[in-house]
Symmetry: D2
Subunit: 460 residues, 4 copies
């Protein structure tokens, strides 16, 4: 696995990687390190040689020699990077360097390196191999996150809290229902990612212009063998300039991070000083201030929110870059090279951070109760209104309660008091009926059933 | 159907719609007209009343009265728009106006308008209804486009042309293979869209904060009935602030338009004066110039390319807007309101234009042949190189032919001549073997088989 | 003026304009209406003829006839729009229709319509004329906004409130300083817009490919006259495919809306139920809910925040579309046509909404005081820390106070009590010194001076 | 200077930097390396201490000790990066580490590290220092580019070539005019960048919430001194959450790269095999193919075009991130951290690559002439049309020549022949007059004068 070839985090100062431990994970960083990229290309070359030997197109000994040298640690990345700047892509220098290394162990074998392929075949297949590994990491994080959210939703299925719309208290809901909403979105993303796997994880093999002409009439045979060797799908035709597969990966990760951003927005709002209903767990050194000793900043949420602001733009790059020319694009292809890796890196960071936030979430359900009382009953206006609506109609009830709310605010009196003095209300509701309407646990509707339904995976 | 309620194109000058006939279609414009939006909301209200009557929650006569008034043409859109600017959403004034109309025919029934629902329930479900109709229009265009591309790919399966990479001639390919590449991308999008239908086309019904509290313990029963009544899916829980479904629609249309943009880029490049291999069909008044009498501009391609530059950004808005607060977002939700409609409108225009371009495409296969000779043989360099590679190894052959190409360019001589004088070549290839390598039809590899494979829908 | 030719808001239902009264202004809508666009093109044609007559290139009578017909209300916009869809741009059908109209009044004059110009000359200059008018509207809104913010900053220069970082209470600040920060950003935008005027508001006149060949050797003379006639700048050379001027307009509006979005974010957060420090003013019918009678939603902020999410993407389109081909672009140019108008429309709406929000802002300075006490003194941690730092060093003081904060939180005790019992504190601060540190008005630093400075326009 | 502290390119494989030599420059990479970022923060801390000592706020010896340790090479970047992931920003661990180092040399001095500042003060000012250096690098590249473009425009002022609109040959122009258009756009960007310097290059100093409370009543004095010490501007008030300055930098670089992308698009289209008018210079190993020996790919243009596709999205992030909360943002601020650096890095790469492309540009003016004949005279249609227009009116002439063009295309005959047989033409033009119209050098209008004008910097 590519991820395992990566070293633990190091920093030599010459590059821009300070923020990597904050914005991504070590494991994803290993997948999309230069070594990971190189190994992806080399894995392609090794598999190609192996399959071509199996087909009798190149000698079996050549394949062995090539495979023996297809190890990232054997190569000089500085030289490759400098050569890539001249060549205009990463594969050309790798193929040259690999050929030299193979020649050193088996002169004859060197003839057959990269046989029949073009640079983009190696680069695209390598990226697909990296993507497969990256998807595995993301999916593992999401599985853990689903588990955590299930626990939250279960435990707080009936924990009442203020439902808020437009940032203003609206009607009571439960914290479990909120968590179930987060959970549902994560489940839908997991389904999407799993269905993309078979569409997007395919080999690239087309040769110079996609005809596989360099393999004579054996092109499809080699392609089929290569797909099997790498456990990837075999596409209908080469996709050098048909870039929807990578774009779909990018967009799906974009949807994922949007859903994670929603969780982070909710949690950060709930942890405002004046709301105080949930908090990121406190660890020494985490989320402090250089000048304010009391600060506990929601660092995890900040990282996720930042990713949710950055990734949509990166997805836009991936979509815009789809307009590629003829058999290989000029500019669009190159715009892709760092884009999908960057999306994966940021997504991994966001997934990891939200997982840690949710795992350690401190929940103050007493404060949730207190906040329900902050409006002196206004949050129960809909409950009263619907109760009266059954008697006097929806619109009339709405207007009656709307006026009572205005009175309550103006005179700073509890809504229940105002209503209890209104004959239009008391004509239809007894005092005890009225007061019951101000119990949050009595106006949670189907919250519990909806949580059950979501956790059971019912619905579409 | 919403689309059928639309009038033919009119323009009263006060709005920005001049370019609509260029950038979208009349049918899609009808779906996302104000009347279409209004009817979507009204269809929700009518269906809600019908189901609630069926469940015994409101009187059957009320449902009849409500349904009788739920017709877009009965409403004053100017008043609704002005009221929406105050209210902050479109549904509140619609509900008020509908209530007034219902009261005029049945005072009692007016009590039950919008019973148990919140504005966003009506707005979201209405948008889903519009989206369903819009998807139908897109899918119909794509079905036609697939048919046209199939014909092109079949007919030109073995029509040789220059394959071009980085905008430079590379190796021969066929026009059919190019068309099959376009076809494959369209097919993958069609598959994606059909699989989204069941995920994205679901009702919204949650009441004020998603608990369905206003429907007591009957919430799920009403929701189930509503989904059935409207032939939409029933989601696990309300999705007022979980916006992945719309985002997935947006991204899938983004991928579609990226794939269409690739076709348009190819065709416009092929129709450059100096290339001249294909042309958009010429119709009187189409693609002229106000000052240059000879001009035939590729108008269809321009529209598609413009859409492919605009839509990625709109998709980015949809993704960025997913970060919505609590039970209803502030800003993110509002950012969506015109975004998905705009994506649909532009996508429809792009799909329609590329369909017309492909339908009328004039193909000059003789010019394709002529252009294959433009480099005096350089385009066959890979063919020669691979042929020699079998004898002297890939890298050595590459370097030998590379030098020959440089000589040919420097001395303006055909590559075949240069090679025929090189003993390193003639030691391995006879003159007739060498000359055969300069026949484009002899170096098409698996082009034909790949076209067959793509059209047969093999591969992933 | 274009704006004055617009009708009051109408809505015929066939187009997507319901949300216009919410998201833009009537005046800006008139500028970027189809009539406004048409008049821009016609103003170009009239001025061109006038100047050419003045130069003796065309007869004076021709210019008179052309000018007499260059009135938007004389044209059939439906026909123009349909013809534009064929022609691929808006100017070709306008030129044809104008020629016909002129011919009807003066057959000879018809010869000279659009003399020497190309479509893009008319379209670009027309758009510049619209932009000039639009800039005027924006600048007027900003002037009013600056006035309102000045009042706020002055009045609340020393009104203490909680400063909040990472959404958490940090240290005291004043509401006036917050308003002065908003003010400063608006002033900087005003300066940018005024400096762009001279760079961006220039004529376009280049003829078919920018050489002005169709005007023989009189091209520069006509161009100079045209600039003067329209009171626009004269660019160095035609800019048909050098699109930085429009891009700069777009980006400056993008920066403006980002700054307005910041104001809206602040206000909406301050008006959360649990914070309650400021509110959008309440008007009947504004910001209500269809189901919750008590709701007062911050509609103005929502509109501004939505614009701040949408416009960055539109700016991205404008920047991406700069890559235009040769002497006139294919796709990039077309992608611009609706983009700058849309940016102006949304910007006008955002500016108008934030102006109304700020004008009507209800400020509860008592609640600001109450909220300062919400943390039982934690918000004064930095004040204490800096006071101790003078005695024991910054880092040591920071750590001492950090521990005290932890103790205060854990035991739910006021920070002042905890500190008063700590010998490391009392060794350096007397009780009265310590308690003074918990007075918000005593720890406002340079807040007042900074407000003065900002309002006086000092600094860069 | 930060740039000089950077090492030559190294690559240890664990990070994603393979493509840096292709997509950016070593010098810009040094500016935005982790060491560069760290030095920026340290330069702030040193200057702050120096100024505070000068003001008598901290001891002079403390300032000396702090300054002596404020050297990036003394710090452990791995530890800083790991600590930043916990702390949530880069400055907190730097301040701690700096305090430790200072304590080791002067225990007393350690008390005064970071006195009165907040993390963001250090981070923002550090970034401004990096930006100043980065702007210098960009401006130097642009100065060279302007010089090269001046040479091109001068030399080819009257070199005729086909003007092309919508990718189709339109009318003759000159290569010098094209180059002058590129030049003009670069000059406008240079002007914009120089005017931004004074607006954007300002210090940040506000303390915890922008009041400078931690400096008592000495805040403005220290701020003024700091600005002077660092040769930066002094802003009106702290801008912790007013982010227009950085956004303006980002957008200006976005406009620059759009203008460079236009040059790259033009050059890459002109270097297509079938056009062949200009070429990137050929260097060994540059722009080859792994499989096609004859390939010379326009690598420089590809890099610039890729940047022009990526940067608009990054600018969108910068604009979207402006919506920051209260006195310090949550998410928006964090989204900025890598965005402006990335924009600078890609911009530097694009500027460097286009400079090299233009410097080495091979121009085939003979081929330009040949291509002017490709349409057998159609490219002169406007010339003929304008000539006839003087006699029979613009529209009539346009239609007459349009028909002649159709005849010429249909019967594959030169346009001059077709026209010479048309009595409507010969009635107004003699044969020699007619043939003169087919001389490209006779229909260049004001091309030469426009080049002079642009190079002289006339116009706006």
């Amino acid at each position: 696995l590519i991820a395992e070839t990566g070293e633990p985090y190091v920093n030599h100062g010459q590059t821009n990687q300070w923020l990597d431990p904050l914005f991504t994970t070590d494991a994803m960083r290993a997948v999309f390190s230069d070594r990971g990229r190189l190994q992806g290309i080399l894995d392609f070359e090794a598999a190609l040689a192996t399959v071509e030997a199996r087909c009798g197109i190149i000698p079996r000994s050549a394949a062995q020699a090539i495979t023996s040298q297809a190890k990232a640690e054997l190569f000089d990345l500085v030289a490759l990077a400098r050569a890539s700047a001249l060549a205009g892509n990463t594969a050309i220098p790798v193929v040259k360097a690999l050929t030299s290394r193979v020649a050193a162990v088996d002169q004859e074998a060197a003839r057959y390196v990269h046989w029949g392929a073009t640079s983009q075949d190696a680069m695209d297949t390598g990226l697909v191999l990296q993507s497969r590994e990256a998807l595995g990491l993301i999916e593992a994080s999401l599985a853990s996150l689903s588990g955590e959210l299930t626990l939250l939703a279960e435990e707080h299925k009936l924990t009442p809290m203020a439902g808020r719309t437009w940032l203003v208290q609206a009607s009571p809901t439960t914290f479990g229902l909120k968590a179930a909403g987060w959970y549902g979105a994560v489940q839908r993303v997991r389904f999407r990612l799993s269905s993309i796997r078979q569409r997007a994880l395919v080999i690239q093999l087309g040769g110079a212009v996609g005809t596989l002409a360099s393999l004579g009439d054996r092109g499809l045979e080699v392609a089929g063998g290569l797909a099997e060797e790498l456990s990837l799908g075999l596409p209908d035709i080469p996709w050098h300039s048909s870039r929807d597969r990578g774009a779909e990966l990018a967009t799906s990760l974009g949807i994922l991070v949007g859903s994670l951003g929603k969780i982070a927005r909710d949690i950060s709002l709930l942890s405002q000083t004046e709301v105080g209903e949930v908090f990121e767990s406190h660890a020494p050194g985490r989320g402090g201030s250089s000048t304010m000793p009391q600060k506990r900043n929601p660092v995890g949420c900040a990282v996720v929110l930042a990713a949710a602001m950055r990734i949509p733009a990166l997805v836009g790059i991936a979509l815009g870059a789809m307009v590629q020319e003829h058999e290989r694009g000029l500019g669009g292809w190159h715009a892709e090279w760092e884009t999908l890796p960057e999306i994966f890196l940021l997504t991994a960071g966001a997934a990891e951070q939200i997982l840690r936030v949710v795992q350690g979430l401190e929940i103050d359900s007493a404060r949730m109760r207190t906040n329900l009382e902050a409006t002196h009953g206004l949050i129960f206006a809909e409950a009263v209104s619907m109760s009266l609506a059954a008697k006097i109609g929806r619109q009339a009830a709405h207007e009656l309660v709307e006026r009572a709310c205005e009175t309550a605010v103006e005179h700073k009196r509890p809504l229940s008091e105002v209503l209890a003095k209104d004959q239009n209300v008391t004509a239809h509701l007894s005092l005890s009926e009225l007061l019951n309407l101000f119990d949050p646990t009595a106006y949670l509707g189907s919250a519990g059933k909806l949580v059950d339904r979501a956790l059971a995976g019912e619905g579409t």
